[in-house]
């Protein structure tokens, strides 16, 4: 026993690093080859996101703000993909915007991955549109409060928004049925809540997905100003699993057919809709390692303290 403790006490931190590398790479390799995922039990905050989108009347116009870039795409892209997918399944119209310079590209990727691939009948400009990035951070939010099209005069592709069919009934941000937002930092969820949701007097419901770092700062807003919250990759995986469960349920076959989802009800979920769930594998490995490390660290500490006390006595 003394020997093990001695080793732990003098443990070079490189071994901790190696353990972390294995804890992350192992599950990625295994899950990458077997294509299996872990089951998810969704929390209230994630379930709320699913239900808010689900409860909107068919054909509502949803504003999706993708405020992130490739740096945090690992955590956030699956959220954006799932949001777009659920909106398409429910027949909602989607207006995509971004307040991050590279967000416009993230939107294009999502449109290609979800809408063009699985909902080919949806038309650009009628059922969805990418308005791209706009500089100005909170200033943009202030402008969309009164005049949405002034903040976004053209689409990302350069078309004028003034006569865009999808925006026909939209004058200000409050005219959208829902604000679905994905946030990597500033400007992000907090600013949308502060400048837009509060100013709309609570009339504009908002759901948000954010990185793990931001989650603690956003919890104070749930379930008040934020109707739903996806926290980190875990929230993304929960949300993904909720949609996948809905899609796999034969009871929803008719609705899916009317939404024009390609392929209909199928037991096999395409891998692109399992990304977040797959990434929970390395999370599990790493978290368990962290827990073990904290325990080991304290065992060492307590043993040291006991031997010090004995020496003092």
């Amino acid at each position: 026993m003394e020997g093990v403790l001695g080793i732990l006490e003098r443990l070079d931190r490189r071994w901790v690093f190696l353990a972390m590398a294995l804890a992350v790479a192992g599950p990625i390799l295994v899950m990458g080859i077997t294509r299996k995922t872990l089951p998810e039990t969704p929390t209230d905050a994630s379930r709320a996101v699913f239900q808010v989108v689900q409860s909107l009347p068919r054909g509502s116009t949803v504003l999706l703000s993708f405020d992130f870039d490739p740096g945090s795409a690992g955590e956030l892209e699956p959220m954006g993909v799932s949001m777009a997918r659920q909106c398409a399944l429910r027949g909602h119209k989607m207006v995509f915007i971004s307040l991050w310079p590279l967000g416009g590209q993230m939107i294009d990727q999502t449109i290609k991955k979800v809408l063009r691939a699985d909902f080919p009948h949806l038309q650009d400009g009628v059922d969805y549109v990418n308005l791209g990035f706009q500089t100005g951070n909170e200033q943009v939010m202030r402008v969309v409060l009164t005049d949405f099209k002034r903040a976004f005069p053209t689409t990302k592709a350069g078309r004028a928004t003034a006569d865009l069919p999808i925006l026909s009934g939209i004058e200000r941000v409050g005219d959208f049925a829902l604000l679905a937002q994905v946030s990597a930092g500033y400007p992000g969820s907090k600013e949308w809540v502060q400048y837009v949701v509060s100013a709309s007097g609570g009339k504009l419901p908002m759901v948000s997905g954010c990185t793990g770092v931001q989650t603690p700062q956003l919890y104070p807003y749930f379930p008040g100003q934020l109707r739903g919250l996806l926290g980190a990759i875990k929230g993304a995986a929960e949300y993904e699993s909720l949609i996948n469960a809905w899609v796999s349920d034969p009871a929803n076959a008719a609705e899916m057919a009317s939404a024009g989802a390609d392929g209909g009800v199928s037991a096999v979920i395409p891998p692109k809709y399992l990304e977040a769930q797959r990434r929970m594998g390395p999370q599990l490995g790493a978290h368990l390692l962290m827990v073990v490390l904290i325990l080991l660290g304290n065992v060492v500490y307590l043993a040291q303290r006991r031997s010090q006390r004995r020496a003092a006595a």
């Binding site: 931190r13 202030r142 009164t146 005049d147 509060s198 100013a199 007097g201 931001q214």
Partner: protein, 325 residues
């Protein structure tokens, strides 16, 4: 330092005018509540004037609560600054992290290793960077006095300029201008992790004996603190980024949490009026706490089904209105 008058009695004196101002603002809110919604929708943005007819009013409506809040908080701070300047004695509790600055610099001198100072990774338009630069000037004064070398890698060109200005001033004030080396304060790169890659490499090679991280930090906080830990440096951190505080708390010897960091420059200067401003901050905190308690009591009575609840609820709404929501 001798203990001054108790803060509670000072705060009590502040309360009366404050409550009067709140009452006025609340009254204004109640009067305006009928059309507040429309005004809020229209005027809370700069576009009202641009989109609709230009507003004729000289003042932006709906901003009274903000003005009152700024006047009250600034008033507290200025009032105690003036008191301190007039010679009133001010007690200040010890902040161990700041008391450790001298020791850390002294240790660097003994070991013949440099002191590393990082003023965050944001530009001069972030107030934390400005606060970091003011702390830097105090640390630089100590290094000048102790004849230690100071290294200041920066992540922005403007910060480099400001840091050079501050350090040069400190060396001049300490009478050690000959020891000032502008090239020790240098720009690395704006890129967050490019900066960290360079600084952590530098730390491993030069092994500074003391590391200061004072400013706005994001994810790099832990890389810096862990690298500093692995080379056995004394580390003192201060930031107002609450998401990074846990990492500094876990990996540094001393951490200034939020407001403590903002107070560091005043504490280190030891000048009476700067210390007075800290006491003014405390008075503002008492006011905030009193308002919270008042609001909680009113909200609780309003939530209970008492006969008076409805009237209290109206008072509560006025109070919230006076505070701008």
């Amino acid at each position: 330092m001798v203990r001054g008058r108790s803060i509670t009695s000072d705060a009590a004196r502040m309360m009366l005018p404050l409550l009067a101002v709140c009452a006025v603002a609340g009254f204004q809110h109640t009067l305006a509540s009928a059309h507040t919604q429309e005004i809020a929708a229209a005027v809370s943005t700069e576009d009202a004037a641009a989109v609709g007819a230009p507003t004729t009013s000289l003042f932006t409506p709906g901003k009274l609560p903000l003005a009152v809040a700024i006047i009250v908080t600034s008033g507290c701070i200025i009032a105690w600054m003036l008191q301190a300047r007039a010679g009133a004695s001010m007690y200040l509790r010890r902040i161990p992290a700041l008391d450790a600055v001298t020791n850390a610099v002294g240790r660097s001198t003994e070991m013949g290793r440099p002191v590393l100072f990082i003023a965050g990774i944001q530009d001069m338009d972030n107030i934390q960077t400005v606060a970091g630069i003011t702390v830097l000037s105090h640390v630089a004064k100590t290094t000048a006095e102790y004849d230690a070398t100071i290294e200041v890698p920066t992540s922005r060109s403007l910060v480099m300029e400001a840091a050079r200005e501050a350090v040069r001033g400190s060396y001049q004030a300490a009478g050690r201008f000959d020891a000032y080396n502008a090239d020790a304060i240098r720009y690395i790169t704006d890129e967050q992790f490019g900066f960290v890659a360079s600084v952590s490499g530098q730390m491993v090679r030069e092994k500074p004996a003391a590391c200061f991280y004072m400013g706005c930090f994001f994810a790099e906080s832990l890389i810096l603190a862990e690298t500093g830990n692995s080379i056995g440096a004394i580390q003192i951190a201060g930031t107002a980024e609450s998401s990074q505080l846990p990492f500094f708390v876990a990996a540094c010897d001393y951490t200034l949490i939020g407001e403590e960091f903002m107070a560091a420059s005043a504490y280190l200067s030891g000048a009476p009026d700067q210390i007075g401003s800290l006491k003014g901050q405390d008075a503002a905190k008492v006011i905030v706490a009193t308002l919270i308690l008042l609001g909680v009591v009113l909200a609780t009575i309003a939530a209970l089904n008492l006969p008076q609840s409805e009237a209290v609820s109206r008072v509560f709404e006025s109070l919230k209105g006076a505070l701008g929501s």
